[in-house]
């Protein structure tokens, strides 16, 4: 059963890569790379929706923040604007502080201790 599900997943991911890199017409290569990262964030959203406990959702949101820094970096070279990396740095900072605050909330302590 597990091997069967693994095979289905392989089929989905392989199909996505095939469509993204060989079927889609005239999209610049950078945007195809961004498509792959957006596909990754779809998996993260699955975890956010499904996650059995609160901690799972917090982990998923933390990871989404790091992934978005990568998207910002590729956007910066795709559009040749250096301020996208600034957005990435600020996003990383916010995501870090948010993760710490959520962790303290989960632990049951107050935020200033």
């Amino acid at each position: 059963m597990r091997v069967f599900r693994w095979f289905i997943g392989l089929l989905i991911i392989g199909g996505f890569f095939f469509i993204n890199f060989f079927v889609l017409p005239d999209i610049p290569f950078n945007y195809k790379l961004i498509n792959v990262l957006l596909f990754c964030s779809l998996f993260i959203l699955i975890r956010v929706v499904k996650g059995p406990s609160v901690a799972d959702r917090i982990v998923a949101i933390d990871i989404l923040g790091i992934l978005i820094i990568g998207i910002c970096a590729i956007l910066a070279i795709a559009l040749d604007r250096s301020y996208f990396i600034d957005i990435g740095i600020a996003w990383g900072l916010q995501s870090f502080i948010g993760a710490m605050a959520l962790a303290k909330f989960l632990e049951g302590r107050s935020l200033d201790a």
């Binding site: 406990s53 609160v54 901690a55 799972d56 990383g92 870090f96 993760a99 049951g108």
Partner: protein
């Protein structure tokens, strides 16, 4: 995709490797059984992948404002993401989220219950 210089080609190769590791980390987030294992796979691989993308951007653009910012952001990610990972792990353990059934040993739980008994 024509007339790229050599450092741009190397940059693209590093960026593609980073994206691949991002995908592995996210797959780990979906497939592994409990919070701690998910944290392991996801933190390691996604941090390494995003750091790889940023270093690729640095190689691609050379010593410009974009490149230096990317390098700065890499150091920033590598410092902060482990800290938030083990903050979440500790909080999850204190909140009483169970480990998976395959778990072999949990010395942290043992030590915590022992210190509570001695009080």
């Amino acid at each position: 995709m024509h007339d790229l210089s050599i450092n741009q080609i190397i940059g693209y190769v590093i960026i593609c490797g980073g994206i691949l590791f991002d995908l592995f980390g996210v797959l780990g987030l979906v497939r592994l059984p409990d919070v701690y294992n998910r944290l392991q796979a996801a933190t390691k691989s996604v941090t390494f992948g995003s750091a790889g993308i940023l270093i690729g951007v640095f190689v691609y653009s050379g010593f410009t404002a974009l490149g230096f910012k990317a390098l700065f952001c890499t150091i920033f990610i590598l410092l902060t993401s482990p800290v938030s990972a083990h903050a979440i792990a500790k909080a999850a353990h204190k909140a009483g989220i169970k480990l998976t059934d395959k778990t072999v040993i949990d010395l942290y739980q043992q030590d915590k219950s022992e210190s509570e008994e001695s009080k």
